[in-house]
Amino acid sequence: MQLNSTAASVFAYALHNGADFAELFLEDRDDVSIDYTDRVNEVSRMRSFGAGLYLLKGNSGAYVYLNDLSEPALRRAADNALALMGASGKGSGMPAPFSVLRRENPCPVAVSPSEIGQEKKISMLRDAGLYASSLPDVSCCRVTWFDRDQRVTILNSEGTYAEDRRVTTRMRFIPIVARNGETASSFSEYCAAAGMEAFESGKHLEQLKASCDRLRGAIGAPEAPSCRVPVVLEAGACSGTFFHEACGHQLETRSLQQDGIFWDLRGQKIASPKVTLIDDGTLPNLYGSSRFDDEGMPRQRNTLIENGVLKGFLADRIGARRLGLSRTGSGRRQDYAHAPGPRMSNTFLAAGTDDDDEMIRDMDEGLYVTEIGGGTGGREFTLLAACAYWVKNGRIGPRVKGAILVGRGDETMLKIDRVGRRFVFEQGGGSFCGADSGFIPTTTSGPRMRIAEMLVGGKGEKL
């Protein structure tokens, strides 16, 4: 289709019939996945091709997506969206002429996975499978390869024309570790906003080994006790994920609109003065980075908390409209089948000034968490401590399992009493965050930090 002229015509139609803003998100995406467990279970290729038409009128929005990108189909979609918004009568706006936005790709690709045959990818899976089977107590390991080549074009009635190409590669490991009749399994992933070159260093195998070691360590380990103790979160994804769940989602405009706890607190202290929290979608080679957000706005660095004081929020277009904020390049979506929403990208706690070792040495008793297995955000947030150790008299003691950390973001962030000096990016390259606008790639990073007291849920006895 003649994209520019079709989009201009559909936008003019939508604006003439009552919308005050129109956007078209086009996506053409190829995915390959290969599933391997001692043998190749499945090789799949997927082609996704469609568009989402997003109309706004005041603070109302309607999103219609479709696979037929002809002008008549897009006009029908516009009619559908206008009806959903209750738009009637004549609008007076005319779409602006398109102006192409250009930005450097923060995640350049050296070797595109689409240029590599399946043999090479299968061979990498086989190597990973063999490596897993050489590790102690690993009874089985499922390894899955994913590569994605997503081409998007975002046009809107304000004249935005933005193209982006996002290539990612990923290997997922699901080892089963069995010893003394006890079984442990979980999944971990090595993700890259890069091509095949991301797998040349062998770091993905280090990730696999760490995953198996962690599972083995859990077997026979005592259950974590339930208690309120100081908690140290290791540098990297641990401390970053804490902020992602404790406040990140609450700082997105969608949460702010739904009775968010931080809305009235701009300029006020919401965390320990040791906390400076940033979300930055421009950082090179990180899983949450791209040229533009999914509303065609160049990505940017957003300071959310500075020295404990709330500085900003993450706003998509409609959230910014509804709350009278500026957009922050944070309008993201999984694909054309999702309307955009305000989302995090690469969220990190800035390095502090405290001694990394002292914060453990200084503890009488507490929990040292080296891996978070996921969590949920909200007024109350939870973090699963996938790998944790009991600390006694300043020494790291035995591994404990089954610990889950529970708290309220607004209370817990004030209790952070140490932020270390050594900053570490998320190990494993990134992960996915799920919310209304789908699953999107993100990273969470930071230095080691300590929370003076937190609820640890577990079923063990006092250690």
Binding site: R39, S44, R45, M46, S60, S226, L455, G458
Partner: protein
């Protein structure tokens, strides 16, 4: 009916080198409207067809597309090419004997009716705080056609409403309750009944504005409301998949195993009067049968597909599907997916009776973290939760930021009675749902 004429033509004369082929197409038409102040504030609408193509000889490869005009022969060849790499062994496929048709097309539900229903419901919810009231209408067609003569088709239609509701409590931030309801038709959704249900849930969730109380970590009896049990089952159903058991990644191993008390009965069904959703046929074209998965605490009939049933020497109970993984990838691999999976209620016990019978303990009204709190391989769970405490039959105070932990076997064994208040959660756009009533459980480990 989804038009697969182009595919059928190729299936009748398969290209050289392809012995078997199949196309499974799923069309979903859906409109979802968020209502606020009596009007639509945001809406999503789509009409999308997904095509999953499998082809090969003994082994099958898969290709996925969303374009109805793609060349069917080329797609079959591409799938067959993918099969070349696999060593997965013979993949079973249904034949002509499984042909099935079930049509329930209904009429389009006008948008104005959806908005009017939402507005009426919002008004009926007054004076509660409503955070996101959605009205959604969905039509789903599923058709599977293959070179062995199978032509299996179903067309379902349902309407849903859901809302997050909290009650105005001066001086405190009341906890939110999420209520939902579904029916075959929009006209069958009753705004007043839904509002009553949502308000009652909100009242229970925030503990009736009781003062918060602290409790020490220990073993307690509890009544888990259906909401909390459904959150656990949202992950735990996977333990009952034959495929998961066979791969060693379920904490349960085989049929015949005792997994809970005699009050525990899990059922998987294609339909249920309390849900508008229907799953009469699966993605392999097998009609879904109502199945007693766990009977009297005994694992009886695991959820199965053609492949996993064959390994157990049984017949598939129609649970083949594609399930979204939490990464945004198109779920292309056929795997085990339930229909309406639920804990069988007991008409003899109301929730109030269960609480009375408990005497002293927690009434858990909400839980957090559906995705990470249950490990299906080890069976261990640690669920963040809250609710209120009951002492000698009297409510004593609300509790929050607690966890309940144990193993699924402990949990199911601790069930002493099951209530009559079965309800289902549809959970976003997933093509399955889980249901549970309240249950009384003895001696679970709590921390707080």
């Amino acid at each position: 009916m989804i038009d697969l004429t182009g595919y059928q033509r190729v299936l009748d004369h398969l290209p050289g080198g392809i012995a078997r082929a199949e196309v499974n197409a799923e069309r979903i038409r859906c409109t979802d409207i968020a209502i606020q102040d009596g009007r639509a504030v945001s809406s999503v609408s789509f009409d999308q067809t997904k095509y999953y193509i499998r082809a090969g000889s003994e082994r099958l490869g898969t290709v996925y597309t969303e374009r109805p005009d793609d060349d069917a022969a080329a797609l079959f060849r591409m799938a067959s090419e993918n099969a070349r790499w696999t060593d997965a062994g013979d993949t079973p496929m249904n034949g002509a004997e499984r042909c099935f048709s079930d049509t329930d097309s209904g009429e389009n539900e006008p948008v104005r009716d959806m908005i009017a229903l939402g507005a009426k419901t919002e008004s009926a919810l007054n004076p509660a705080n409503v955070h996101g009231l959605h009205v959604r209408v969905t039509e789903r067609e599923l058709r599977t056609v293959n070179s062995l003569g199978l032509d299996s088709f179903t067309h379902c239609h349902w309407a849903e409403m859901n809302a997050a509701v909290s009650l105005p409590r001066p001086g405190m931030q009341a906890a939110e309750a999420e209520a939902n309801v579904s029916a075959a038709r929009l006209s069958q959704l009753d705004p007043d009944a839904f509002a009553r249900k949502a308000l009652a849930l909100a009242e229970r969730t925030d503990g009736g504005a009781m003062k918060p109380m602290a409790v020490s970590s220990s073993a307690y009896d509890c009544v888990m409301t259906g909401q909390v049990l459904r959150n656990i089952l949202m992950t735990a159903w996977r333990c009952f998949s034959a495929e998961t058991m066979q791969s060693g990644s379920s904490c349960f191993r085989e049929p015949g195993e005792k997994i809970g008390s005699s009050f525990v009965n899990f059922i998987n069904a294609p339909i249920h009067p309390l849900s508008g959703k229907k799953m009469p046929v699966d993605s392999e074209g097998t009609p879904m049968r109502e199945t007693a998965v766990v009977q009297g605490g005994m694992l009886a009939n695991p959820l199965s597909t053609l492949s996993s049933a064959r390994k157990f020497g049984t017949e598939s109970n129609g649970c083949a599907g594609r399930i979204p993984v939490m990464t945004g990838n198109v779920p292309i691999a056929l795997t085990t997916v339930p229909g309406l999976f639920f804990l069988k209620p007991d008409a003899q016990n109301t929730q109030g009776q269960l609480i009375k019978r408990m005497g002293t303990g927690f009434v858990l009204t909400y839980s957090l973290d559906l995705f990470h709190s249950v490990n299906i391989a080890s069976g261990q769970f640690s669920v963040p939760c809250g609710g209120y405490f009951v002492q000698n039959g009297e409510t004593a105070g609300s509790v929050s930021q607690m966890t309940v932990a144990g193993s699924l076997r402990d949990l199911f064994t601790a069930v002493e009675a099951v209530g009559d208040d079965l309800d289902f959660d549809d959970f976003y756009f997933r093509n399955y749902c889980v249901g549970s009533p309240s249950a009384l459980l003895r001696g679970l480990k709590f921390s707080g």
